[in-house]
C-alpha cells in the first residue's frame, strides 16, 4: 500500500496519448420504499431495522417491482434523451457476497429500460461537450459491510464484519456512458462536469437528492489511454466509488498520469479495479481479476417483464421539468451574468435559492448579491451549505424589500441578516428588537452633520478646497454618531451642501 506510483507529467501524458473514459454512475432513488418490497428507505435508522423477508432474501420470499422506481427510471431515461424500452426484463446477476442477501443482485442485463441517449454538459468556460449515454438500468442496492479489526477497513485482514441490510434493496439506477473520446486534456474536467450535470438533472427531476457525500450518487471512473492518432482503445482501469465531484476529476487525472507512466516505461496496463484515496488523490490496486467474473446473468423468473405503454412514456415526457442546462442558460440571459459568474452561483449551490428569492419578490441583482455575498460568507464560516442556513428565501426577499424602501441601508441589512441567522426572529422582528432603522429625521441628521463639521475643521477645509473625496471621513463620523442608522448617501449629500461644494 505504501509503494509510490510512478506518474508521468500531465502535459507529457496528453502530448502522447488520448484518454478514453467510461463513467458509470449509480443513483439511489428517493422512493419511500425499496425496489422490491415495502420497507422504508429512510437513511440513518438503526442497523437492520428496515428489513423484511424480501430484502433479507429469506427462503420463499419474492420481489414485487416498485412502480415509482420504474417511473423514476423512465424519467431519467427521457431526460437523458434515451429511447425507452417497450418491453424489458430484470435479470439476476449472480455472485456471492455477504452484503447481498440472495447472493444475486436483481438488475437488468441486455434489456435496459433506457438506452442510446446523450447529455450535454457545460465546462467551466461555458463550452458544451456532448456525452453519449449507453444505457440506464434499474437494480437494487446491496447491504453495507463494516469490516472490523483490519488496518484498512477492507475485508482483507479484518477479524469480523458487521452487516446492515437497511440499504439492501434500495432502488438504484445505473447510468453508463458510451466511451468518451475526444476530450483530450479536458477529460478530467468533462468527467467532473458530466457528474455535476447529471446530479443537477436528477435533482431537477425530483427522483433523488443525489447527495454524493451520503452515497446517494456514486461514480466509477473507467479510463484507458491510446497513442495519439490510434483508434483502438487501450486496456482500462476501473476506479470504483469515487464520491465527490472533485474526486472524479482527480481520479481521472491521476489515472491518465499513471497509465502514461506505465505505458512509457514499456509496461502494460492490467485490467483491474482500483480504489481512490481522497487524502492523497491517488488510486491503488484493488482485487486483480484473475479470470473475468462470470455473473451468469439470466432473466429474473420471479418478476414479470416491464412494458411501459407509449401513452405513459409520452405522459412522463410531457411532465418533465425544464432541464438544468436549459434553465441555467435562460436564467443567465435573464439576469445578464457571465458564464463564470453563473458557474460560481452553481458551485455555491445558490441557484435555486436565488430563484426562490426572486420568486418571493426580490430583484435578481439583490437576490444574487445577498446569497453570493453576505450569506455565502456566513455559510463558509459556519461550514454549512447555503440551504442549511437558518434563513429562508422569503426572509432574504423581505430584507431586500426593506433596503429598496429605504428603511434599511446595506449595513443595517447585514445586521438584520445576522440577527435572523442567530435565531432572533423574522427580519421585521430583528429590526424592531435591535432598533435598526435608517435615521430619516432631517433635523437629527443635520445636527449630526454640523457636529461632524465642527469637530473636524481640517477635513472640512480640505473639502471646501475641492477635495470631495475627503468627505468620507465626515460621513464616517456621522454614521458613527447615528450608530450606522443613517443613509450614507444622504449624509454625504448634506455635508457637501453645508460646505457649499457641488458633486461633480
Amino acid at each position: 500500500m505504501t509503494t509510490t506510483t510512478d506518474l508521468e507529467s500531465y502535459e507529457d501524458a496528453l502530448a502522447a496519448y488520448d484518454p478514453v473514459m467510461g463513467l458509470e454512475v449509480h443513483v439511489e432513488l428517493g422512493t419511500h420504499t425499496k425496489m422490491f418490497c415495502g420497507c422504508s428507505t429512510t437513511l440513518g435508522a438503526d442497523p437492520n431495522t428496515q428489513t423484511c423477508p424480501v430484502c433479507l432474501g429469506l427462503p420463499g420470499a419474492l420481489p414485487v417491482v416498485n412502480a415509482t422506481g420504474v417511473e423514476s427510471a423512465i424519467k431519467i431515461g427521457l431526460a437523458l434523451n434515451c429511447e425507452i424500452a417497450e418491453w424489458c426484463r430484470f435479470a439476476r446477476k449472480n455472485y456471492f457476497y455477504p452484503d447481498m442477501p440472495k447472493n444475486f443482485q436483481t438488475s437488468q442485463y441486455d434489456e435496459p429500460i433506457a438506452f442510446n441517449g446523450y447529455l450535454d454538459v457545460q465546462l467551466e468556460d461555458g463550452e458544451t461537450f456532448r456525452v453519449e449515454i449507453e444505457r440506464a438500468h434499474m437494480e437494487e442496492d446491496t447491504g453495507k459491510s463494516t469490516h472490523v479489526g483490519g488496518a484498512t477497513g477492507r475485508i482483507h485482514g479484518a477479524s469480523h464484519s458487521l452487516l446492515d441490510y437497511n440499504r439492501a434493496g434500495i432502488p438504484l439506477i445505473e447510468i453508463v456512458t458510451k466511451p468518451i473520446v475526444g476530450a483530450g486534456e479536458r477529460a478530467p474536467e468533462v468527467a467532473r462536469a458530466y457528474v455535476r450535470e447529471l446530479r443537477e438533472l436528477i435533482r431537477a427531476l425530483g427522483v433523488s437528492e443525489a447527495r454524493m457525500e451520503m452515497g446517494q450518487m456514486r461514480c466509477d471512473v473507467n479510463l484507458s489511454l491510446m497513442p495519439k492518432g490510434a483508434d483502438k482503445f487501450g486496456t482500462r482501469s476501473e476506479t470504483k466509488n469515487v464520491n465527490s465531484l472533485r474526486s472524479v476529476e482527480r481520479a481521472a487525472r491521476f489515472e491518465i498520469q499513471r497509465h502514461a507512466a506505465v505505458l512509457n516505461g514499456g509496461g502494460t496496463i492490467i485490467q483491474e479495479t482500483r480504489h481512490f484515496h481522497e487524502d492523497t488523490g491517488s488510486t491503488t490496486s484493488g482485487r486483480v481479476k484473475e479470470e473475468a467474473e462470470d455473473y451468469r446473468y439470466f432473466p429474473e423468473p420471479d418478476l414479470v417483464p416491464v412494458a411501459p405503454s407509449r401513452e405513459w412514456v409520452e405522459e412522463l415526457r410531457a411532465g418533465l421539468p425544464e432541464l438544468p442546462l436549459v434553465r441555467r442558460n435562460r436564467l443567465r440571459e435573464e439576469w445578464g451574468v457571465s458564464g463564470t459568474d453563473m458557474q460560481a452561483i452553481l458551485n455555491a449551490g445558490a441557484l435555486d435559492l436565488i430563484v426562490a428569492t426572486i420568486d418571493a419578490g426580490a430583484d435578481a441583482a439583490s437576490a444574487r448579491k445577498w446569497w453570493m455575498g453576505e450569506l455565502a460568507r456566513s455559510a463558509n464560516e459556519s461550514g454549512k451549505a447555503l440551504d442549511e442556513l437558518a434563513i429562508t428565501a422569503e426572509q432574504v426577499a423581505r430584507v431586500t424589500a426593506l433596503v429598496a424602501s429605504g428603511d434599511l441601508n446595506d449595513k443595517l441589512a447585514r445586521q438584520v441578516i445576522e440577527g435572523v441567522l442567530a435565531g432572533e426572529g423574522t427580519p421585521d422582528e430583528v429590526v424592531d428588537k435591535r432598533g435598526l432603522k435608517v435615521v430619516s429625521d432631517e433635523g437629527a441628521l443635520t445636527a449630526a452633520v454640523d457636529e461632524a463639521i465642527a469637530g473636524n475643521p481640517g477635513v472640512a477645509d480640505k473639502i471646501r478646497g475641492g477635495k470631495v473625496a475627503a468627505a468620507g471621513a465626515l460621513v464616517g463620523a456621522v454614521m458613527k454618531a447615528t450608530r450606522g442608522q443613517a443613509d450614507a448617501a444622504r449624509v454625504k449629500e448634506l455635508i457637501l451642501q453645508k460646505l457649499g461644494v457641488g458633486e461633480g
Partner: protein
C-alpha cells in the same frame, strides 16, 4: 376412531358444521393415527400437535358462537415442508435449513389458516423438491403405505403417504416437474398441479421459480377441488400470480361429466420404458372415457420428446441461483465458524455439509449451463424448446378439451433401486414435465392397480391454462365410474398398517 380418519374432507367438514363431530375430536383422531403409524411411514418431519389442537378448538368455538364456517373448517391437513410457517420449523428436507424457524407465513399458509383448515404438521420431501422418490430427504425416506419398502413418489412423498395412510384427508404439494402428480399416482391418491400462477408462491421455498407451483392433494377429486379453491387466487406478493377469478373447480367436481368432450391421447406418451400394467390401465381408462361419451382424438406432440432435456437445463439453472442464498450467514446451519475461517470459507463449508448430492449435482449443472459461452447452447436452447412445447399444447388444445396420459411410466419402485441412477430417476417425470414447461394445469387420479405388482397406477388429465375446472369435471366423472366398477375407492385395497 377408524371411521373419522377414513372420512373424506367434504364429509368431515359437513359433520363438524352440523355438530356431529367436533374439530378437536377430528384432530385428535388424526394425531392418534400419526402416533400409531408414522413411525413406519415417516410422512411427517414435524407434527405441530399443540398448534393443530388450538386451531381445532378455535373452529369449535366459532361454531358454538354461531359463526358460519368455511367449507373446509376443522379439516386436518398435512403441509409439505417447503411452505414457510411462522414459528414452526421449515426445512425443505434439507440439513442446511435445520433449526430454522421462519418469521413469516407463506401466503398459502395464511390462506389455510384463514379458512380454518387445521395444519397437523410438515411433511417429508426430497431435499429442495429435487427428486421423484423422497429418498433425497436429508431426514430419511418415506415409505409407500401400499408397500413400505417402496417409494411414495417425490418430491412430495410425505404428503402422498400421509393421505394414503389416513394420517390426513388433505395435503399440500408442490409440482416443479411432477412432484404432486407422480406421488399421487404411486400412492393411489389425487393430486393437482394448477395452472402456473394460480396458487401464490410467496413463502414457498423456490427450487425452479418458473416451474414451481403449489397445489392440492387429497383422496377424492371433490376434496382436491375444495382445497384448490381455498389456496388459489391472486396474491399481490407474487408478481407471477394470475390476477383473474379462480376457475369454478368445486362446481366442476360436483358435476363430473365427459359427455361430448374431446379427449386427446398423445402418441409420445407411450413406448419404451412404460410398464405393461401401466399401459393396460391407461388404455382401459381411455376406453372408459369413450364409454362415458367422450370423443378420443390421437395427437402428435413431437417436441414433448425434448421436454426432459429442456427441464434438466432450466430447473438446475434456476436452482443454482435460487439456492445461492443458503450461505450459512443469516439462517439455518453454519459450518466452520470457529475463528479460523473467512466468511467465504464458512459459506463454502456450510454448503458442502448442508446440501445433499442431488442438490449439489443440480447446482453444478445449472451453474455450468448459465456460464458465459454456454448460456445460448444450454439455457437459451432449453427456453426455445419450452416455446415449442407450448406451441404443441396450443395446437393440441385447438383439437381437444383435455389430454390424458399415464401420470408416470411405472408403479412405485423399491426404495434404493434408482437412488444411484439419476437418469432412471428422472424418467419418472417423463409425462408430467411438459405441463410444467408450458404452465398449464394437470391432475393425477387413480385408475387401478397394475396386474403384475398390484400397485396403483395414475391417470393424468391435462387442461389448458386457467381451465383447471376441466380437470375436475373429467376427474370426477372418471372417479365415479371407477368407484362404481370397483365397488369402493381404490385405497380400500391397500394393506392396513
Amino acid at each position: 376412531m377408524t371411521d373419522i380418519i377414513k372420512l373424506t374432507a367434504a364429509e368431515t367438514a359437513a359433520k363438524i358444521a352440523s355438530g356431529e363431530l367436533t374439530a378437536v375430536a377430528v384432530t385428535e383422531a388424526h394425531l392418534a393415527r400419526i402416533e400409531a403409524v408414522d413411525e413406519k411411514v415417516h410422512a411427517f418431519l414435524h407434527v405441530d400437535r399443540e398448534g393443530a389442537l388450538a386451531q381445532a378448538r378455535a373452529v369449535d368455538e366459532k361454531r358454538e358462537r354461531g359463526e358460519k364456517l368455511g367449507p373446509l373448517a376443522g379439516v386436518p391437513l398435512a403441509l409439505k415442508d417447503i411452505f414457510t410457517t411462522e414459528g414452526i420449523p421449515t426445512t425443505v428436507g434439507s440439513k442446511i435449513l435445520e433449526g430454522w424457524i421462519p418469521p413469516y407465513d407463506a401466503t398459502l399458509t395464511q390462506r389455510l389458516k384463514a379458512a380454518d383448515v387445521v395444519i397437523l404438521g410438515k411433511t417429508n420431501m426430497d431435499e429442495f423438491a429435487m427428486g421423484s422418490s423422497t429418498e433425497n430427504s436429508a431426514y430419511g425416506p418415506t415409505g409407500n403405505p401400499w408397500d413400505l419398502t417402496r417409494i411414495p413418489g417425490g418430491s412430495g412423498g410425505g404428503s402422498s403417504a400421509a393421505l394414503a395412510s389416513y394420517q390426513a384427508p388433505l395435503a399440500i404439494g408442490t409440482d416443479t416437474g411432477g412432484s404432486i402428480r407422480q406421488p399421487a399416482a404411486v400412492t393411489g391418491t389425487v393430486g393437482v398441479k394448477p395452472t402456473y400462477g394460480a396458487v401464490s408462491r410467496y413463502g414457498m421455498v423456490a427450487f425452479s421459480s418458473s416451474l414451481d407451483q403449489g397445489g392440492p392433494c387429497a383422496r377424492t377429486v371433490l376434496d382436491a377441488a375444495l382445497l384448490h379453491e381455498v389456496i388459489a387466487g391472486h396474491d399481490p406478493m407474487d408478481s407471477t400470480s394470475i390476477d383473474a377469478p379462480v376457475p369454478p373447480v368445486v362446481e366442476a367436481a360436483r358435476n363430473g361429466s365427459v359427455a361430448g368432450m374431446r379427449v386427446g391421447v398423445v402418441k409420445q406418451f407411450r413406448g419404451e420404458g412404460y410398464q405393461a400394467g401401466v399401459i393396460q390401465r391407461f388404455d382401459e381408462s381411455v376406453e372408459l372415457l369413450r364409454e362415458l361419451g367422450a370423443e378420443i382424438v390421437e395427437l402428435d406432440c413431437p417436441s414433448f420428446d425434448l421436454a426432459l432435456s429442456a427441464y434438466y437445463l432450466i430447473a438446475p439453472s434456476e436452482c443454482s441461483s435460487n439456492l445461492a442464498r443458503f450461505d450459512g450467514l443469516r439462517y439455518g446451519m453454519r459450518t466452520g465458524d470457529d475463528g479460523g475461517h473467512s466468511a467465504e470459507e464458512v459459506t463454502s463449508l456450510t454448503r458442502e455439509a448442508g446440501f445433499g448430492d442431488e442438490v449439489k449435482r443440480r447446482i453444478m449443472l445449472g451453474t455450468y449451463a448459465l456460464s458465459s459461452g454456454y448460456y445460448d447452447a444450454y439455457y437459451g436452447s432449453a427456453q426455445k424448446v419450452r416455446t415449442l412445447i407450448k406451441q404443441d399444447f396450443d395446437t393440441a388444445f385447438e383439437q381437444v378439451d383435455v389430454i390424458v396420459s399415464p401420470t408416470t411410466p411405472t408403479t412405485a419402485f423399491p426404495i434404493g433401486e434408482r437412488a444411484d441412477d439419476p437418469m432412471a430417476m428422472y424418467l419418472a417425470d417423463l409425462c408430467t414435465i411438459p405441463t410444467n414447461l408450458a404452465g398449464n394445469a394437470a391432475m393425477s387420479l387413480p385408475c387401478g392397480l397394475a396386474p403384475e405388482d398390484n400397485l396403483p397406477v395414475g391417470l393424468q388429465i391435462i387442461a389448458p391454462v386457467m381451465k383447471d375446472d376441466r380437470l375436475y369435471k373429467v376427474g370426477a366423472a372418471v372417479e365415479a365410474a371407477f368407484v362404481e366398477k370397483w365397488g369402493h375407492p381404490l385405497l380400500e385395497e391397500a394393506p392396513s398398517l
